[in-house]
Amino acid sequence: MKLNQRIFWGLIIIIPLLFSGLGCKKFLDRKPLTATLDDLNQGALEGTVLNLYNILRGWGGFSSLPWVDFHSIRDDDAQKGSDASDGREINTEFETFQYTKDDWAPNTYWNDHFLMINTANNAIYSAQSSNLTDEASLRNVGEACFFMAYAYFELVKTYGDVPLINFPILKPTDAIQPKSPASRIYEFIDSNLQVATQYLPLTTLDYGNAYPGRLTKGAANSLWAQTYLFRQDWARVIALCNEVISSSQYSLAPEFSDIWREGLQGAGKNGPESIWEMNADVGQNAVSNSAVYNGTQWGTCQQVRRNGAPIEWNLGWGWNTPTDKLVNAWPDDDPRKAKTILYSGQFDGGPALGGHGATLPAYTNPDGTGGLAQKYWNKKLYTGNDPEMRNFTGFVNNNGDAGWINHRILRYADVILMLAEAANESGDGATAAANLELIRNRASGNLGPSRTIVPVIPFQDQGQMRTAIKNERRWEFAMEGYRFYDLVRWGDAISELSSLGYTNRCRFYPIPQQAITLSGGVLEQNPEWQ
């Protein structure tokens, strides 16, 4: 009994003491059994910047339906596509200009851009607070600044005045900011692109061999030129375009269709004409191996939709298709037309015209009962639908998907046409005509000045050249999402789009109600949409 007493009194006292004194802290100090941001140390900046590319690829506001809605479906040459019942609200919201303040697509578009902005702010802040000034870190800062400018440029085009968030959000309430005027947003874009052009490398090889498609100085200069084009600051557009051209990093692809080729193991991506692409990769057998799926919805959402057609035509969701207006207005003798528009019920033209040697099922009705629901499809994306790639990744029949297709965001042809437009507007007709000819000659298949199709357009007067350049942008960039903002920029939106329901206030989309609600009213609706 005595011994028992001693043992157990001892136990009572010793065991807890042992725990609290020696083992307790260790027992309670637990960190996750996977890496957190803290564990990445100096890699955190690189990791955060890489996440900006991830956001660009993976989030709807950049590479899926919302982007397509805002950029392409809104214009007169593209329409929602798909079939009659799928996404009918998009007809209302984006084709007939009855903008809504609360729907999935517009909400996502807004949210995702601010996600990119906040992530970029975090990257810049982490570089500043750790005083990182080595070359690689500064390059990271340049990339973050580029993404910041890219997101804000999209926002200012879409909404006009938007809140300016130029600091990291440490407390969620910090994110509640009133709108800043568009001019202030443009100033901020300029300051970011200033940094980006300073730190970004000339070629992706400066990052190492394994970074094709990563941001370069050329991308920053091209984006900057675009922003000045929207502000009609022609001199700066000319200077920036010339800087891109004189860097000798880019050239027009000899064959127009090749721009959109997507072959096995990335062949055809990040080609000579590409200044910046959203990169995606879908590995072998990715259909059942999520570990090698790093795809995007960009290609999937624009491939042919099966509806009542045989299952092998289950290629995607079938959004963003050409309108009758585009098909009728575009002269047939422009070879780009057959490389941009894919016709239901017809041979796809084979490799010479960006096809794969298949014949499409016929268009039946808008429901697609027994066949396809659209007469025309976006062939620029179809070109990327390489059957070899489908078999390689396993996305066939019921698993239709085309996640491997890169989004060509900035291409050299745009730099050439921006230069042409800015030159013409500043009275340099010769430069304008010369640059326009570069694009037209390539469009013809490089037949040279004596060709009869897509013929040379000599400069006559500024107005004639302006019309020619506008037309050239329409054909060259058809279905690529340039036209709506071009029409607004040119002041042509009313004449071209009013038959669809466009009015002047439609140049800006209303700010999503959710963001206004969440700000507690600090953020105010665009006055034209109150």
């Binding site: 725990f19 957190t36 209302t92 700000s519």
Partner: protein, 1148 residues
């Protein structure tokens, strides 16, 4: 203690002796003070041990001038005593020496002291005896008291006691917690064996209180005990399901999936995070009790109030359900066989459009949307009730065998169970095998060693509700249009696994033009895949303890617990065809076979070191507990997948269970991958509790716990929780003795601070490292074909994170009246949760989510429960029980980090189905527009407030009510988002349960019912399905608006009219219901009759569960659970079957 004297102890007189010691001590101090005035001058100092009094007297004679005169035949003069005095007067010494004897002394002249026997001394008697309880179990610690005195003792481990009483004619009062008090008149006997009878009075129950047990009488809180018998014979694989309606304050929302956990909340929704209670099974903390066999349960206690819960510290706020599993009873070997069989039927089916109705509605919708050509229905000629097509009559069977026995030193019990539980969805089946083992070995009088083990093997049902696959069969079924055939057609097709061709029965695909996205024929998937899953769970939960009794009043009990469990799930995807209903061309649904293997392992370790002191000091009763405990939880999950597309050179993975592993020899090496997730957390805690009573009349309970948890940053790691409770048993007061109504009347109250370690995402998924956000997996940057991991934290961490606390108090009354026929209990409770741990979603600002502390929430209500027992005669007895809980919930404030003060959870179409948590309103209140009617015409639209800011609208669309403008000052003549308002509360105003039991001879009929009142349900189906999907119309759509005056409630059928896809009162339904939960008729055979077959007890019964429900909503049921901030949504699931079972219970 300067002076310490003990008489040679007789066995088991310790209690009296201790009392004596104290008395002596007091006497001594007193006499020392007066010693100078006493007689005699000689001071005495001496120290003797176990010496006869006569010997001591001799020593005194040697030391002093005193002389003693006595008769050496006196028995008591040879008593042995121990004495230790210093400088004491003679009278003190004499008192010490003779105090325990029947001897008197007288100091004569000349220092002569005469010692003689006291002629008036009562004859002291030593009474010995044994106290046993139910089944002859020796009762430890039973109190044995001489009536009307403070003299008493308590029984030892063997139930034995020995007490010296003044004479052999006193009456002993014997009591033990959980038993009726018994009085025994000695009437000259010195040997009494008392067998106590288990108390049937609620206030005398022994209840589990966490780290110990106590009599309900001694407690100041609210604990409800439910006997294991209540759950054993009910057809539920999850025992908690059977508690519905039984306990005031306990809300149970059931669902129909075999084995699935119900949504359980005790006294309301106390958090934005975790709301389910803590389960404590024989001491071990757990999140669920899915592994327990209902037949192994001895009792279930529901702990609700602060004074019961504070001892659970950081896990106590959501309430505790404590489960005690069965232990062997003392006595003979018992073999019990329990078996039941029954079937389940779908009741209250939801109504969907049939083929004709679908065509009417769809054709009309096309016209509404501007289509001029009629839809081509060729090939679509079926009229299928898809809900019938996917449901079955399920079988249920539960079989249990238990063996228990005990001997002097050992108690042993063993249980074996097999349960077979089919759901109402085809092929939905759960099988469970359970083994339980318990043994307690008495090493000696002081030390006991015990072990308990519960192990189970469970084959989980096919995931028919889409927990992991997203494939919810019932939901998929009601979406399919009735024009699709549910049958198969025979086709001659290529064997997908071989090179030959063969005939196959193939199910129909859907009409791809109509139902392509998000809708599938559930039969195609179900019939081809249900038997391709192996989902087996092994759980082993057990503990080992040592119980040491020492220093008479102390018990030290260290216990080591473990729950080491594993789930292995392998899902094989086969190759199968479906055919196009229009072209009758079969095609493979997928070209690929694959295997996904999930291995989940979790480990929980807990150790408790509990020291208990229990003693009565006269009128004072004290039970004090102190302890130290640690808890560890770790889960380690791995998922691997492999697939094979087949092809010219490769074979698909065969449809053979042999090969359903990641590496199966057929897999494509490039399509094999693995990933894992794992996390741990731990807590270290100190606890203390005191239960005190004075004369069993006034009670005081106090408890304290300090918790430190690995989930918090070091600065905030420790947190303290406490509670104090008091109670007054008025019926013990003198002034109550004359009345005849109340047998027992107790007032009680308690107050305390509880904790909730509710670090979780908004949907309730726990976060084990809230301070360290995970990096999102799959966030990769791609450059060409090179892939780099990006750093993308899941949310913004909060360096000041701390636990939620709940300030709780309650007051209540408990009473028994009318000869204990009525038991009544009423409580008022109030619980305020502070520092709500909130996962804030800020995606609309492009922000990561953030975990913040802030805001508070209040739950309050009243609980009433009553039972009435009426014995009409020996054969006929009636028991009636009822309970009702009125509950209120209000959000008092929310974190400042939520600028609008709104925590919104939205589902379906841009979050149209919205729950808002906002100050001043109940948690998770439904939010949306108020439907005033339907716009009948353009004229009506023109005459009404303009609503275009919400979207385009036309006749046939909802007419929303103008409630508010941007200034918040009432109607502004415009319908805008400002007109959204609170349209429903998912928390009932009150919930109630009734039960009735009638016993006549061997027959017993019991009927249980339960219901809730005053809550709302948000129905999402039949109105808010994705407009991207074509789904079958709900039955009520036949009454839609289709022209002026046709309907003022059901809008025009059109997916294009997005205006009607706003959440509104159209979706809100009354959630009140009443259900006959159980009807049971049983018959117990006469013992005399069955004893001929060597059977002790034989019972037959039939039970009907969910016999009938009265409800007011369209769904399968009125019960819809959810998480803390979003619950009460009817997503076309939750069907609860009616189950009829027949059972047999035999005891040998």
């Amino acid at each position: 203690m300067k002076c310490f004297q003990t008489a040679a102890p007789k066995p088991s007189q310790s209690k009296v002796l201790l009392v004596m010691k104290l008395t002596m001590l007091m006497m001594l101090f007193f006499t020392l003070n007066v010693a100078a005035n006493g007689f005699g001058q000689d001071r005495i100092s001496m120290r003797v041990k176990k010496t006869e009094i006569s010997g001591v007297l001799r020593s005194i004679e040697e030391q002093t001038n005193y002389r003693f005169l006595y008769n050496n035949d006196l028995e008591d003069i040879h008593e042995k005593v121990s004495l230790n005095v210093k400088d004491a007067g003679i009278s003190d010494v004499m008192n010490l020496l003779l105090g325990r004897t029947n001897l008197l002394y007288q100091l004569m002249n000349d220092n002569l002291i005469v010692i003689k026997e006291d002629p008036n001394a009562p004859v002291e008697v030593v009474v010995r005896g044994k106290v046993t309880g139910e089944g002859g179990t020796p009762l430890l610690g039973a109190s044995v008291q001489v009536k009307g005195t403070t003299t008493g003792t308590s029984t030892n481990v063997e139930g034995n006691f020995s007490l010296t009483v003044a004479d052999a004619n006193v009456t002993l009062v014997i009591s033990s917690v959980g038993y009726d008090v018994q009085e025994v008149a000695l009437a000259g006997k010195t040997e009494v064996n008392v067998s106590l009878v288990l108390s049937t009075k609620v206030m005398d129950q022994v209840v589990v209180i966490g780290y110990g047990t106590a009599s309900k009488r001694d407690l100041t809180g609210s604990i409800v005990k439910v006997s294991g018998k209540e759950v054993a014979d009910k057809p539920n694989t999850n025992p908690i399901s059977s508690l519905q309606g039984k306990v005031a304050g306990l809300s149970v929302v059931n669902n129909g999936t075999p084995g699935a956990q119900p949504d359980i909340r005790i006294r309301g929704t106390v958090s934005i995070g975790q709301v389910h209670p803590l389960y404590v099974v024989d001491g071990i903390f757990n999140d669920n009790i899915d592994y327990l066999n209902p037949n192994d349960i001895e009792s279930i206690e529901i702990l609700k109030d602060p004074s019961s819960l504070a001892i659970f510290g950081v896990k106590g706020a959501t309430g505790v359900i404590a489960i005690t599993t069965k232990r062997a009873k003392a006595g003979q070997v018992t073999v019990n066989l329990n078996t039941s069989y029954g079937f389940k039927k779908l009741v209250d089916k939801i109504k969907m459009a049939n083929a004709d109705e679908f065509k009417i509605l769809f054709d009309e919708e096309r016209i509404n949307n501007g289509f001029t050509d009629p839809y081509d229905y060729s090939g679509l000629d079926a009229n299928t009730d898809w809900i019938d097509a996917v449901t079955q009559t399920g079988n249920f069977s539960a079989n249990n065998l238990s063996v228990s026995g005990s001997s002097e030193r050992n108690r042993f019990n063993f249980g074996l169970g097999y349960t077979f539980d089919e759901g109402i969805i085809r092929h939905e089946k759960l099988e469970r095998l359970t083994v339980s083992l318990g043994d307690e070995l008495k090493i000696n009088k002081f030390i006991k060693l015990g072990i308990n083990l519960n192990a189970s093997r469970q084959d989980n049902p096919y995931d028919a509700i889409g927990i992991s696959s997203g494939f919810n069969v019932l939901d998929a079924a009601r979406k399919v249009i009735p024009l699709i055939s549910p049958g198969t057609k025979n086709f001659y097709v290529k064997n997908p696994y071989g090179t030959d061709s063969l005939n196959m029965d193939i199910y129909s695909a859907l009409d791809v033009g109509l139902q392509a996205a998000g809708v599938i024929n559930p039969l195609v998937k179900l019939e081809n895949e249900w038997d391709k899953t192996v989902n087996r769970e092994y759980r082993t939960v057990g503990n080992v303890y040592v119980e040491v009794n020492f220093l008479k009043y102390f018990t030290f009990r260290p216990t080591w617990y473990a729950d080491v469990s594993n789930l292995n799930k392998r899902v094989y995807t086969p190759l199968y065809y479906s055919y196009d209903p229009r072209t009758l061309v079969p095609s493979l649904e997928s070209q690929k076979t694959s295997v996904v293997e999930d291995d989940k392992t979790w480990r929980k370790f807990q150790q408790d070191y509990i020291l208990t002191f229990k003693r009565n000091f006269g009128d004072h009763g004290v039970t004090a507990t102190a302890g130290f405990t640690t808890f560890y939880f770790g889960n380690f999950n791995r998922t691997g997948r492999s697939s094979q597309a087949g092809g010219p050179t490769a074979l698909p993975i065969p449809d053979d269970e042999r090969f359903w592993y990641i590496t199966n020899g057929f897999q494509d090496p490039s399509a094999t991958s693995a990933n894992s997730d794992q996390s741990e957390y731990s807590t270290v805690s100190y606890l203390a509790r005191a239960l005190y009573n004075y004369k069993n009349k006034y009670f005081l309970n106090a408890s304290f716990r300090d918790d430190a948890s690995s989930r918090l940053p070091e600065v905030n790691r420790h947190q303290q929780f406490w509670a104090i409770g008091a109670a007054w048993d008025i019926s013990k007061e003198d002034f109550m003795q004359s009345q005849q109504i109340f047998d027992f009347l107790k007032l009680k109250g308690s107050v305390g601070v509880l904790g909730n370690q509710t670090a979780s995402r908004l949907d309730g998924t726990p976060l084990n490292y809230p301070f360290y956000p995970n990096l999102n997996t799959g966030s990769n940057a791609v450059f060409g074909t090179n892939v780099y991991t990006a750093a993308d934290p899941e949310y913004i961490p909060n360096p000041d994170l701390k636990w939620e606390t709940v300030e709780a108090w309650e007051v209540g009354v408990e009473l028994n009246a009318f000869q204990n026929r009525l038991h009544f209990e009423a409580n008022y409770y109030n619980r305020t949760t502070n520092d709500l741990m909130t996962y804030v979603d800020r995606s609309a600002l492009g922000l990561k989510n953030k975990l913040v502390n802030g805001g508070s929430l209040r739950n309050w209500g009243e609980e009433f429960s009553a039972t009435w027992r009426q014995d009409f005669d020996r054969d006929l007895r009636l028991d009636i029980a009822g309970n009702i809980t009125f509950m209120d919930n209000e959000v008092l404030s929310l974190s400042e980090d939520i600028p609008t003060g709104v925590l919104s959870r939205g589902f379906f179409n841009n979050a149209s189905a919205e729950s808002r948590t906002v100050p001043g309103m109940p948690i998770g209140s439904f939010f949306g527009y108020v439907v005033e009617g339907i716009y009948q015409s353009y004229a009506e639209i023109l005459a009404s407030p303009i609503a275009s800011s919400i979207g385009a609208y036309a006749p046939g669309d909802f007419k929303f009510k103008d409630i508010n403008g941007p200034d918040g000052k009432g109607p502004d003549g415009k319908i805008t988002t400002d007109d959204e308002t609170f349209i429903g509360n998912p928390t009932p105003d009150f919930m109630y349960g009734v039960s009735l039991s009638l016993t006549y001879k061997g027959f017993n009929l019991s009927v249980d019912g339960n219901g809730v009142y005053g809550n709302e349900i948000f129905r999402t189906w039949g109105s808010l399905e994705s407009p991207f999907q074509r789904v079958n119309y709900s039955g009520d759509k036949i009454n839609r608006w289709h022209g002026p005056g046709t309907s003022n409630w059901v809008p025009i059928v059109s997916q294009e009219h997005r205006f009607n896809y706003n959440g509104s009162t159209y979706n809100i339904e009354d959630g009140s219901y009443f259900r006959i939960r159980n009807i049971q008729l049983g018959y117990n055979f006469d013992r005399n009759l069955v004893s001929k077959w060597k059977i002790r007890d034989l019972r037959l019964f039939v039970n009907v569960q969910n016999a009938k429900t009265w409800k007011n909503n369209y769904g399968y049921t009125a019960e819809y659970g959810g998480d803390a901030t979003a619950f009460g949504y009817d997503n076309a699931g939750g069907a609860i079957p009616m189950t009829t079972t027949f059972g047999l219970n035999v005891t040998f």
